[in-house]
């Protein structure tokens, strides 16, 4: 059976199954278990309404529990076992990993990514949002800068492989160097340390659009009186921007910043496609992938380290969400 046909059948079975489940479970609850026409209809309706939310929630909670909650525990548990998974070695995977040069490089690079990418993307996004705010063709400009969001990390990597190509007739970087008289083409992806920044720029290129869209909406939401008052008081455009607008959208800037930070900790595609983690460009997710299928103990240990790095953001997000609900 061709996979596509299998896919279509899955859609039908899946959608039909879901609708059937929700419909039938509600029907059974109302007509069979707690029918409202027995001795005490009121009580039965109340009982049914106590159960119903869980009917609605059950499939989602089961999937979330299995695919996101269980793995946190499962990964940690697995990371305490050796390569083949049959011997308990405590934190052995962690200690050997921390002593490994590859891990240290990956961890250092990852911290570099976390520092640079969110800052650069947020800054550029804010810049574009502000510049296009009053522009007639601002929407077209925004749409074009937003476009890389739709491109896969692999596709984006290929796009930039052309730009970075080690050949003045293919790569723009080397063509520009050639134009200014450099004799030999340079493979920028093999220049130690700085190659990280060339890889980071790809992600900045993708994420600037995201930051721009959100910050641009936030800028529009600023009460105009505050800006008017500042201008009447003689503030110049830079003062208006830095002293009036930015403080008012600080909350949104933080949200954008943390969202991109989380993303940075997960993206392995760019490094994997561009350098395969060679030339000192490894980051934690790509380091993990090099152990995936080979040494699950080590791979899960790396994953758990990523989880620990993400944890503060997660707690902060939950607290924000709870504060909003009150």
């Amino acid at each position: 059976m061709s996979p596509l046909l299998q896919g279509i059948i899955t859609v039908i079975v899946g959608v039909g199954g879901c609708v059937g489940y929700f419909f039938l479970s509600n029907l059974i609850l109302d007509k069979v278990i707690f029918p409202p026409r027995a001795d005490n209809p009121g009580q039965n309706i109340n009982r049914a309404n106590l159960v119903r939310p869980w009917l609605f929630l059950f499939p989602a909670m089961a999937a979330l529990g299995l695919y996101l909650v269980y793995p946190v525990v499962g990964s940690f548990y697995r990371s305490l076992y050796n390569r083949s998974g049959d011997e308990f070695i405590g934190f052995g995977n962690y200690t050997t990993m921390f002593a490994d040069d590859g891990f240290q490089i990956a961890f250092f690079n990852n911290m570099l990514w976390v520092l640079v990418v969110p800052a650069a993307a947020t800054f550029l996004g804010l810049l574009v949002a502000q510049l296009t705010d009053r522009l007639k063709w601002g929407n077209i400009a925004k749409s074009l800068i937003f476009m890389p969001m739709a491109i896969s990390f692999v596709g984006a990597s290929l796009i930039w492989k052309f730009v970075y190509a080690n050949n003045a007739d293919i790569g723009l970087i080397n063509a520009i160097r050639d134009f200014f008289g450099a004799s030999e083409p340079l493979d920028v992806l093999q220049v130690r340390f700085w190659n990280n920044f060339f890889l980071m720029f790809i992600l900045v290129w993708i994420q600037t659009g995201f930051a721009m869209v959100i910050l641009s909406a936030a800028l529009r939401g600023i009460p105009e009186e505050t800006i008017e008052a500042a201008i009447i008081d003689g503030a110049n455009p830079f003062q208006v921007f830095f002293k009036i607008k930015v403080p008012q959208i600080m909350g949104t800037i933080v949200v954008v910043w943390t969202t991109i930070t989380i993303l940075v900790l997960k993206v392995f595609d760019i490094v994997y496609t561009m350098t395969g983690g060679n030339f000192g460009t490894d980051i934690l997710p790509s380091y993990m992938m090099s152990y995936m299928f080979r040494d699950d103990g080590r791979a899960t240990a790396v994953a758990f380290i990523i989880m620990i790095v993400v944890l503060p953001v997660m707690i902060w997000n939950i607290r924000q969400a709870r504060a909003e609900m009150r």
Partner: protein, 374 residues
């Protein structure tokens, strides 16, 4: 309001210029790839894509038949035209593969063993050798070839490199992985938004927390789980995985939207005797269409563009490669230097997301805003 009271900002031209600069900077890489994907592979390595509208100087090789040797004193001479009847314009030429463009047209090139070669611009050549000519000598020359744009790269990649299979595989992964989570999440979101029960706040907090759980954690335990229940690495496995991973965002987006629906409508429907199931299917679901659309676009883009989940949850044989895996694991290795093929492959893989992006941008933006701005 930078220009209230009619004072047009003097920075206006600077703003325009810098936006133009940024837009061009942002577009150039993609444009370069698009142009390259239509160019002939030899032309790609002969000149940059930014020169692609102009003629390209390319090197060719011509074999001179040794049959028509004429003796001139102590030299053996072959004369003729390297275009052998055709048209052309020689720019430079040479007699050895190691140095194919040693002399300019019209000059005489000194070759090894006292041989000489003269090629005119129109292709007429004179080849002189002191020794007897036994094998057909080769002449290397460069000539300006007009720009060569075609769909050849696309044809090669689609029909002889199995990119068509990868395209269908991507589609196969994407469709169920987009549709099924929407349905599951919509019911859960309704319960979290409009039903009262103990522990609701806790569940919402849990969904928010799960939004940021790194996927990497899920890979090993779930692959083991899939192997244990007999799914293994298969399409069914990846659909389930994508469904699970997409749910937190789906529930979060949909709940945020549903909570904002007017309470009156829902309460009056309940007063009129509608059950929760009816309220959900007949009122909340149709009203939530914009949120459903934004999540569908997110999930579509995410599953279409995903590399990680596909690498882990799909079998690693070439029949089940999706496009991202095919490009990253196969083409970049085996076709690493074939830029035309790589460019067209990349464009095939990003064409559909780009179309979706430009036609549905409104919903995408709305979804992004619902997710992060309060």
């Amino acid at each position: 309001m930078d220009n209230i009271a009619g004072t047009k900002s003097s920075l206006s031209w600077a703003v325009n210029l810098s936006v133009i600069f940024l837009v061009v900077l942002w577009l150039i890489p993609t444009v370069g790839l698009l142009v390259s994907s239509f160019r002939d592979r030899d032309q790609i390595s002969a000149s940059g894509w930014w020169l692609s509208p102009f003629a390209v100087e390319q090197n060719f090789q011509a074999k001179i038949p040794a049959g028509e040797v004429r003796q001139d004193g102590e030299f053996f001479v072959i004369e003729g035209n390297i275009f052998s009847g055709g048209e052309g314009e020689v720019i430079r030429f040479g007699g050895a593969r190691s140095n194919p463009t040693i002399a300019a047209a019209g000059e005489t090139a000194e070759l090894t063993r006292d041989r000489t070669l003269t090629v005119q611009e129109n292709g007429d050549f004179v080849y002189r050798s002191p020794a007897e000519i036994k094998r057909d000598p080769s002449v290397y020359y460069s000539t300006a070839t007009p720009p060569d744009f075609s769909l050849d790269n696309y044809q090669t990649i689609l029909f002889s490199n199995n990119m068509d299979i990868a395209f269908i595989n991507t589609l196969t992964v994407t469709i169920p992985a987009t549709i099924i989570p929407i349905l599951i999440a919509a019911f859960a979101a309704y319960a979290l938004a409009w039903m009262d029960f103990a522990g609701r706040g806790l569940l919402i907090a849990m969904v928010v927390g799960l939004l940021v759980v790194p996927l990497q954690l899920a890979l090993v335990p779930l692959l083991q789980f899939h192997n244990k229940i007999g799914i293994g690495q298969s399409f069914l496995g990846i659909w389930m995985a994508h469904t699970g991973f997409g749910l937190p965002l789906a529930i979060y987006l949909l709940r945020n939207y549903m909570v904002g629906l007017p309470r009156d409508i829902i309460e009056s429907a309940k007063v009129d005797g509608a059950t929760d199931f009816q309220v959900f299917t007949k009122i909340v679901l149709p009203l939530s269409f914009p949120a459903l659309a934004s999540f569908a676009i997110f999930q579509f883009l995410w599953t279409w563009n995903d590399l990680l989940v596909a690498k882990v949850f799909l079998p690693s044989n070439s029949e089940s490669w999706v496009m991202t895996v095919k490009i990253a694991d196969d083409l970049l290795g085996s076709r690493g230097g074939d830029w035309g093929i790589l460019a067209s492959a990349a464009f095939i893989s990003i064409a559909v997301p780009l179309i979706v992006f430009f036609t549905m941008q409104r919903y995408l933006v709305r979804g992004l805003l619902a997710g992060s701005v309060k």
